[in-house]
């Protein structure tokens, strides 16, 4: 061990080497490791992840479409009852097939009743809250807050930008701005409930669905995107063409860019990294 010619990575003993020697090429940076925690995505999984993102975009668009059709009385208000019932069906489906742990019925019932009563009580206030503001302002603010909500939304990827409270509150404010254009309380209440379920529980439901039933959710996504394109075309054909192109770009081109670019990923690790303390489990 104490052979005089071999250099050691120690400071406590003077070694017969000059101070700028550090073991030559063989020893220097021996502990350097590269790309330890880097995740490489393949094209298929990247496309699948984009489907999750686009599903949320389509759901938001469908909400806007629903609102506009109700506002202009293109669709009968009965459709709202249908959508409302479907959220209940989705909830039961989630409890039965998707939730990872057993659903606590009593707790859920209490939450639902509380939220519904609050929504019911505050609907007149919410509806008239921003009535005095001009319609153009309302629409633009609503779109901006909706985009903001998409930005912080949870698409099933752990990222520092994901923030549930920011996403939900900006999404809800987007919905509430719109509601001020309606005349009656009942459709307002129903739309509010739909918006709340979409923003507060949509992420969890969708992420679980994509996790548990990947093939069914892909089919659902295709149906949803086609339907949203069709619905938009009834307002503006140009917009629906643009919407289709956006779908193609996000679904096929963006994953391609990711896959091509990720070969350049390079992270450096070594003994200088800040250690991550492992907490004991049995605290």
């Amino acid at each position: 061990m104490t052979s005089p010619t071999r250099w050691q990575k120690i400071l406590y003993r003077k070694q017969p080497f000059s101070d700028n020697y550090s073991g030559g090429d063989a020893q220097f940076l021996k502990e350097l490791r590269k790309n330890v925690s880097v995740v490489h995505y393949d094209y298929k999984s990247a496309v699948f992840g984009c489907m999750n993102f686009l599903t949320h975009l389509d759901m938001l668009t469908m909400y806007f479409v629903l609102f506009l059709n109700i506002l202009h009385s293109n669709w009968s208000p009965n459709i709202l009852y249908g959508v409302f019932t479907s959220t209940i069906v989705f909830y039961l489906f989630f409890c039965k097939f998707l939730t990872p742990n057993v659903a606590n019925g009593k707790e859920h019932a209490r939450t639902i009743v509380t939220l519904f009563l609050f929504a019911y009580a505050f609907t007149p206030v919410i509806r008239t809250l921003t009535t005095s503001i001009s319609t153009d302002t309302i629409y633009s603010t609503s779109i901006i807050t909706a985009i903001l909500s998409c930005f912080f939304h949870d698409y099933g990827v752990k990222a520092p930008v994901v923030s549930y409270p920011t996403s939900v509150s900006s999404g809800l404010s987007s919905a509430i701005f719109l509601l001020s254009r309606l005349e009656e309380d009942t459709p307002t209440l129903l739309l509010l409930v739909v918006a709340f379920t979409l923003h507060a529980y949509g992420a969890e439901f969708r992420n679980r669905l994509f996790h548990v039933y990947p093939s069914i959710s892909s089919i659902l996504f295709c149906a949803l995107s086609l339907f949203s394109i069709y619905c938009i075309s009834s307002f503006s054909v140009e917009l629906s063409v643009f919407w289709t192109l956006l779908h193609v770009f996000i679904l096929f081109v963006c994953p391609l860019i990711l896959v091509l670019k990720q070969t350049g990923k390079c992270t450096i690790h070594g003994p200088w990294d800040e250690a991550v303390p492992i907490k004991s489990v049995n605290r």
């Binding site: 120690i10 400071l11 406590y12 101070d19 220097f28 350097l32 070594g270 003994p271 200088w272 250690a275």
Partner: protein, 437 residues
């Protein structure tokens, strides 16, 4: 090292100096003292601390310039490019400085004077005291915006451990031959063991350090109750303050350990020896550390050290005899601590006086100063790159910020030329030699 080196005129530059306390500050103070003893002429340049402005002489004869610069963030000055340039130039000329030695990556003043001094044709040396990762945003910004450009034109670089050297070479994209490793040292005569307390006190484990995340305060909170539950009598003394102190106190409440764990709070540096002498085992839970002076201080006081295996720590002390290393996992550290306690109870730990002697031979400031002056000699003997080569150095580091640095350098060159016309360097030097006679 038989033939004499120098004497040189050296300016040690850093934002961090007395009255602040810390690793860099201590390093500069003792290095300056030992360099003066070797016959060099040393001044320290730092920014003003409150009322402490202007030129001061410390009790060991060290001349310190406290320049009135604005402190921007975390004790580092705001780089104002030409605002501080006349001041630094005047000081360098007045003191007839040959070598500028900057300390610490975080010190903007050090980087600024290295740049200005380099453009004035002086030799430059830089000491890096810290480790950086490559993953978080602040580290990436410091590496690519500051360090890489600042170090490219520095003549010689010193790091405090081999791990730190590897890190600096990677961060600054440097030639490893330009980088030397000279460890820190401690003033061992201030850290002497107390055999009476060592053998007669009940087994005591000491922790000294700020109670923050980077020093592993969370690990400490995990370790203490586990050790206390598995050993009936062992005591803990925790010195230091910080945001994690509340968690520590909560842990004491939860496990009812007030009788066995003493929390001392903030300690002045002259109290450290007194606290260290009360124990036999020292625990260091740092998550990142370039050198770790506190474990050397503890070993000098005769304590056995149990530490996490991070950064440069494994290089500092001989494993097993002086230090037990473990990964930063609470259960492993608990095992290591209990093993050390067992060794202490069986009387297997090294005698504190022998340990103190051994540590005194490993690390002392005169040795550090001697090794540092060899670096100075190399810097003086190397050919200084011209101003154009320096600009090219910035250019080669990447065009984006390279342009910014080139513009700054051109502005500095312009003002240096103007100042040289009105306040010629030769006259300053002549004044200085008059004073010396």
């Amino acid at each position: 090292m038989s033939n004499k080196i120098g004497p040189y005129s050296i300016a040690l530059v850093s934002d961090f100096f007395c009255p602040n306390a810390g690793g860099v500050e201590t390093h500069i103070y003792f290095l300056a003292q030992c360099l003066i003893e070797l016959g060099h002429r040393v001044v320290v340049i730092t920014h003003s601390y409150g009322d402490r402005k202007g030129v001061r002489y410390l009790s060991n004869g060290l001349k310190v310039y406290y320049l009135p610069f604005i402190v921007a963030y975390n004790g580092a000055t705001l780089s104002s490019i030409i605002g501080s340039m006349p001041w630094l130039r005047k000081v360098f000329l007045r003191e007839n400085v040959q070598i500028i030695h900057g300390h610490s990556t975080f010190s903007a003043l050090a980087h600024e004077s290295l740049m200005i001094g380099g453009l004035m044709g002086l030799r430059t040396v830089f000491t890096d005291h810290s480790l950086f990762g490559f993953a978080d945003a602040s580290a990436i910004l410091t590496n690519t915006l500051v360090l890489q450009y600042s170090l490219i034109n520095v003549d010689q670089i010193i790091c405090v451990s081999y791990t730190s050297k590897e890190n600096t070479v990677l961060r600054g994209k440097l030639d490893p031959n330009k980088v030397s490793t000279i460890p820190n040292a401690i003033e061992t005569c201030l850290f002497t063991p107390d055999c009476n307390q060592f053998f007669n006190n009940p087994t005591t484990i000491i922790f000294l350090g700020r109670l923050v995340y980077r020093k592993g305060a969370d690990l400490l909170c995990d370790i203490i109750p586990k050790v206390c539950s598995r050993h009936p009598t062992v005591r803990f003394i925790v010195g230091g303050d910080g945001p994690k102190r509340i968690e520590l106190e909560e842990m004491l409440e939860k496990y009812n350990l007030h009788e066995r764990v003493v929390i001392l709070g903030m300690l002045p540096h002259n109290q450290v020896k007194r606290v260290l002498n009360q124990g036999q085992i020292f625990i260091n839970t740092s998550l990142t550390e370039a050198f770790c002076m506190s474990i050397v201080e503890a070993a000098s006081c005769g304590l056995h050290v149990v530490s996490t295996r991070v950064g440069g720590v494994p290089e500092v002390l001989p494993v097993d005899e002086f230090i037990s290393l473990e990964e930063p996992v609470p259960d492993d550290l608990v095992e290591a601590l209990l093993k050390s306690v067992e060794r202490r109870e069986k009387g297997l730990l090294m005698d504190p006086n022998i340990k103190h002697e051994a540590v005194s031979k490993m690390y002392n400031w005169p040795d550090v100063a001697e090794r540092t002056q060899v670096i100075y000699k190399k810097a003086i003997e190397s050919e200084s790159p011209g101003r154009l080569d320096r600009l090219k150095g910035y250019y080669d580091q990447g065009i984006g910020f390279g342009i910014l640095y080139i513009i700054v350098a051109i502005i500095i060159i312009f003002w240096l030329t103007i100042l040289d016309m009105f306040d010629s360097p030769a006259k300053n030097r002549a004044k200085q030699s008059d004073k010396n006679q």
